[in-house]
Structures are given as structure tokens and as C-alpha cells.
Subunit: 352 residues, 2 copies
């Protein structure tokens, strides 16, 4: 070991889901949308004058923020955009979780929260979900340095009502409560309207799931003007120009095409509901999902075995070898055709 | 003030150069390249299948890193890419500057270094450049927590020889020395070859200047494998998918078109040398520049006055109201035509 290594920040990084290069597989492992982005996205790319790329992008992403403000019925000054919701949440951890008290989140949740806490030296505690993977709101009514959880939760897909969430926000006026709504568009109700009543709330969403643009990296936060100003101050202290020019433009197109957005999210919801029936028939158990994935377990065969056998058949789903969830698989909702292939494979695997 | 504001990270953010929306101006204020990106960039955009955007990008940016490794004669494992060199340097500050001792950099330099030090709570000290804006290498031979400076320096354009830089790297084996080579392609010699001799060196470059892609946000670092691994660990603890799919593809095209790269950088160098003569004729003084800008002062008229009068004529240059440099203007090298318009305007302003 060299002396300079003494001053290196040592971390245990988040491991993203596999991104196989083989185009031949059915990819149900990272909650991507099976449908292409809105047509306007393609048009912007075709018509784009590459000469624009020689200039720096608009550091304030004004156009994209305006489109989002119009869509969500808030002011432009209430929106912050970043390179995927991971960038947004990471900045929000840096900006708002600066207390000596522990930040709290569920024991089973998006596995990046503890990674961010570690990298920014933020103390944290987890609160166990109940046996049905539900949040007990009383766990969040205690001294803490901030709160974050996804709604619907990942990787369970479980959605909590706005009533329950409002109780948590209301009981914690002295800290920031972040609700990570990556999957909200698949049947849940956003808590953006609660911003009118609470100034300690930050709502985070992404273009990666419901807007079919995981490859573009766009996430955003909605909050009161003061929160957004603090977020921007930190962002402009880290990297002034995070979102590139092209991404800003295609983001606008995606937000504007509301009918396409509704159409594709509804298609995914329909396929999900059909998948629930089929999975029940196959003997799977799962908490009810309001997201674009289902978190399943089977009484007769271990999740790790099913995972491997699906992989052999070129169907990728997600598996975590972690306490409480190591007998579950997270299956992303694909097209009806992809799901049919999955069901056939599962039938085959379970009949062995 | 609300109680939650007690735990907000308060910072004084970096202020980027103006990005006016008026297309009618001559923009010589943010060191952008006056020529468009390589032709392959346009081709990729035209042919891009937007359906790819529904999938997450390759988190390891393998193709782009391979293209850079080939171009710079190093292994892929020696390269780290990020969303502009600001993203790369910011990650490098987080990763390597974790000592209680002060990080050191010049008093006149890229004005983001102290902002990063502040946001990450890194102690720092500045070392004054001499009266000719040159680095005194002995200032950097002392106890410290790490070193960073650009070569050529910004906003002065002054280039330091590899001999001087090697002395600094050699004298500091226990800390990381970062050389920010944003402007190296305009006539300087990169210190990438020094990586064979020193494992405490990190070299940072960008696509924003010499590759005409400020709008795309691509920066990279070259270092030994261990440094790059540590950087990646921190990156994967902050945001797994930083560089989007399209950007990775257009980046490859830019790197591969070596003849276009040489052609445009040479054109800028020729225009710069012509500009030096013209500016001398107009009575300006300036340190010799090896970058795509010149840092000028005039004995008869204050920089702030010239700045305003140029702005009135829709010519934007950069001015900082800071000690030691508040009588200087940084003028980016544009096309020959843009520079001719600038010279005429300056002649006019100075004859008043």
C-alpha cells in the first residue's frame, strides 16, 4: 500500500443490475419500460444541429423545467433537475441530511440509500417493514435527521396511501422528508399536492421508468422554492453543467406528449394486472404491486434457483441475496409477449 | 427561518460564464470551440434509434473508454469518464483529498477549486503565482493534502513545462497531484506519459474545448489502475449511470476523428497567434498563451470598461472582479471572422 492511499475515501459502491450486451435476451431485471420514448424524442434527434454541441448547455435547464412546472402545476422555481433521480437524490442527501441525528428509511428499500449515507458520512438507521412489507408510520415519529422512502417502495412494489405519508411529513416539521416516486405513475397517487401544506417535503421522480428514458438520465425534484434554491446552490458547487443540451430538448418532448405517456403507462398497468393473475395461478405469492414490477416468491422452489433457470433461458430478472428478501425475485413488467414467454418458462421450471 | 434549515449544507456556488440566449452575439466568454464537432457526431444523432433510450446506458461506458484508451496509449482500466471534467474533478476531490492537511493550488486559477474544497469540507491553501503569472515549483514542495492546478493555467493561458511539473509530482509521492489539462491540446504537451513513472498523478481532460462538445458534457481522467478503481468506487456510490447512451456514442465518434481534431485545433492555434500580434499592435499586454484564450490588460483603459463596451457591441468576453486580475479580460479564440470583428471593436473602443 502506498502512503497516498491513506487519504482515499473508501466505499462499498452500489451494484447496478446487469446490463447485458446480448440483444437476444428478455430483460426484466432493471425496471425499464418496454415501449419506446415519445415520438417527439426521435424527431428532435433527427433534426438536431450538432453544431449546438460546441456551446455549453443552459446550466439552469430552463425549458425542461418550464415543461415540468406546467405539467405538475407548480412554479419553475419549485423544480430541480438532475442526471437521473440518483443524481437528484444524491444531491439532496448532501444538501439536507447534515444533522448529527440519524436519517431513517425502511430496512427493505432502494439499496442506494445506505450507500449515499456512507459516502457522505451521514448517520442512518433502518426501520423494519412489517411482515407484509408495509411501513409502520409510528416508526417514523421519533427524533431523526431526515427521512426518505420510495412510494411505491422498491423492490416490493407496495404503495402507501397519502394519508399515511402525510402523517409522517406532519410529525417531522424540523427535518426534510423525501418521497422517492420513481414508480408513482403506475397506479399510485403522487404527494406533490401536499407541497401546498408542508415546506419540509421533497418529491423526487424520474424519466427512467414511466417515460421510457432510462438511457437519457433525467430525474427531478419538486419542493418549495427555498428547498430548491438550496439544492441548486449545492449543484452549482459540484458541477454547473450537469444536463447536456440534447437531453434537455428530448426531455421537453417526453413531458409534452401526455397522451402517449398515459397510453404506455396504462398498457403496463394492464399487463401487470394480467401478470398478477397468471403468477397466482402458478402458485407465486407477492405483495400487491402498484409499480412496473412484481416482487414474487414461490413456496416450492427457491428464488435463487428460479433466477438461474430463467437466466439459462435468457430471461433476466433481479435477485438479491439479502436478509428477508433472499427468497424473492423482482420481475419487471415487459410487453405482453415478453411476459407470455416468461410465464411459459416459469411453468416449465416449476413443473420439474 | 425554519428548523430544518439548520441542517442544510450552505455553500457559495461557482458562477458559470453567461450563456446568453441571443444568437446574434459573438460569444468569446466561455472558451467554447468556434468549429462544430466531428462529422461522425452528426451522423450518430441522425441514425440513432430512440428506442435504445428506454434502456439504461452502459454504466461502465466501455466503448468510449476503449476509444480513449486507444487514442492515449493506456489501458481501459486507466481511464475514468464523467459528465464534463467538472464532474471528474469533483469526484476526484471527494475520492483523494481526504487528509487533514491542506490541499494546495495557485491563487489565480480555475475558480471552481475552492468551491469544491468548500462543499466537501476540504482544507486548502493557495500559493501565489509570480508577477508573470508563473508557478514557483518550490511553493508545492511542502507538507500538503494534495495538489491541483491546470496546465495551461486558467484564466491566464500560461503553460508550464513538463520538467517543472515532474519536479512537483516527484516531490509529493504521498499525495495525489492532479493536472487539469482542459486546454492542453492547443499547443502544450500532456503529462500523460509521466504516468509510467508516477502512481500519484491524475491527469484530467475534457471534450468541451478541443473537441467542440461543451454541450455534450464529457470529461475524463487518466491515471494508474488503482487510482481509477478508487474513483469508480466513489462514482458508483453517487450515481451509477452518469453518462447517457447517446453521449457515449457521440464521444466515440469525436475521439476517432483524429484528422478533424488536428485540423480544428491547428486552426485555433493559428488564429490565436494572429490575435497575439494584433493585440500587441493595439497596445495590450498579456502572458503568452498556449490555450484557446488570451488573458489581456491594457495600460490606457480599464478591463471593466472594455468589457462593458464590448458587451454593448454584442461581443461577450469574460471579466472577474477579483484581486490581481480585475484589470484583465479573458478572450476566447473564435473564428478569424469573429476575431476581426473583435479587433475592430477594440480599435474603436481604445480610440475614444
Amino acid at each position: 500500500m502506498r502512503n497516498w492511499e491513506n487519504n482515499v475515501r473508501r466505499v462499498c459502491p452500489y451494484v447496478p443490475g446487469e446490463q447485458p450486451k446480448d440483444k437476444d435476451i428478455i430483460k426484466l431485471n432493471t425496471n425499464e419500460n418496454p415501449y419506446p420514448p415519445a415520438k417527439g424524442v426521435m424527431r428532435v434527434l433527427k433534426d438536431y444541429n450538432a453544431d449546438n454541441l460546441r456551446l455549453y448547455p443552459d446550466p439552469s435547464s430552463e425549458e425542461l423545467i418550464k415543461a415540468l412546472a406546467d405539467r405538475y402545476g407548480v412554479k419553475s422555481s419549485q423544480i430541480f433537475v438532475g442526471v437521473g433521480s440518483d443524481d437528484v437524490i444524491s444531491m439532496a442527501f448532501m444538501t439536507f441530511f447534515n444533522s448529527d441525528k440519524s436519517v431513517i428509511f425502511p430496512d427493505i428499500t432502494y439499496s442506494f440509500y445506505d450507500v449515499w449515507a456512507e459516502v457522505y458520512n451521514i448517520p442512518y438507521k433502518t426501520k423494519p417493514l412489517d411482515e407484509n412489507f408495509r411501513i409502520n408510520e409510528n416508526d417514523y415519529i421519533c427524533e431523526n435527521g431526515g427521512i426518505i422512502f420510495p412510494n411505491p417502495n422498491a423492490p416490493t412494489g407496495v404503495y402507501e396511501s397519502l394519508d399515511k405519508i402525510e402523517k409522517i411529513i406532519k410529525a417531522n416539521p424540523d427535518v426534510i422528508v423525501m418521497i422517492d416516486e420513481a414508480y408513482i405513475d403506475f397506479g399510485g397517487e403522487s404527494c406533490i399536492p401536499l407541497l401546498k401544506k408542508y415546506d419540509n417535503l421533497l418529491v423526487i421522480q424520474t424519466f427512467s421508468k414511466s417515460r421510457s428514458m432510462a438511457g437519457a438520465r433525467i430525474g427531478f425534484a419538486v419542493g418549495n422554492e427555498r428547498l430548491i434554491k438550496y439544492l441548486n446552490d449545492v449543484k452549482f458547487s459540484v458541477n454547473s453543467y450537469t444536463m447536456n443540451s440534447l437531453t434537455q430538448k428530448i426531455g421537453v418532448e417526453a413531458v409534452k406528449d401526455e397522451s402517449y405517456f398515459k397510453d404506455t403507462t396504462n398498457r403496463i398497468i394492464r399487463t401487470r394486472e394480467r401478470a398478477k393473475k397468471k403468477l397466482l395461478e402458478l402458485g407465486f405469492i407477492f405483495p400487491d404491486s402498484k409499480s412496473n414490477f412484481i416482487f414474487v416468491s414461490h413456496p416450492n422452489k427457491s428464488a435463487s434457483e428460479i433466477f438461474c433457470e430463467l437466466k439459462n433461458r435468457k430471461i433476466f430478472v433481479r435477485y438479491w441475496d439479502k436478509p428477508r428478501i433472499n427468497n424473492y425475485l423482482r420481475i419487471t413488467i415487459g410487453t405482453d409477449k415478453e411476459m407470455d414467454t416468461l410465464f411459459e418458462a416459469l411453468e416449465d421450471i416449476l413443473s420439474d
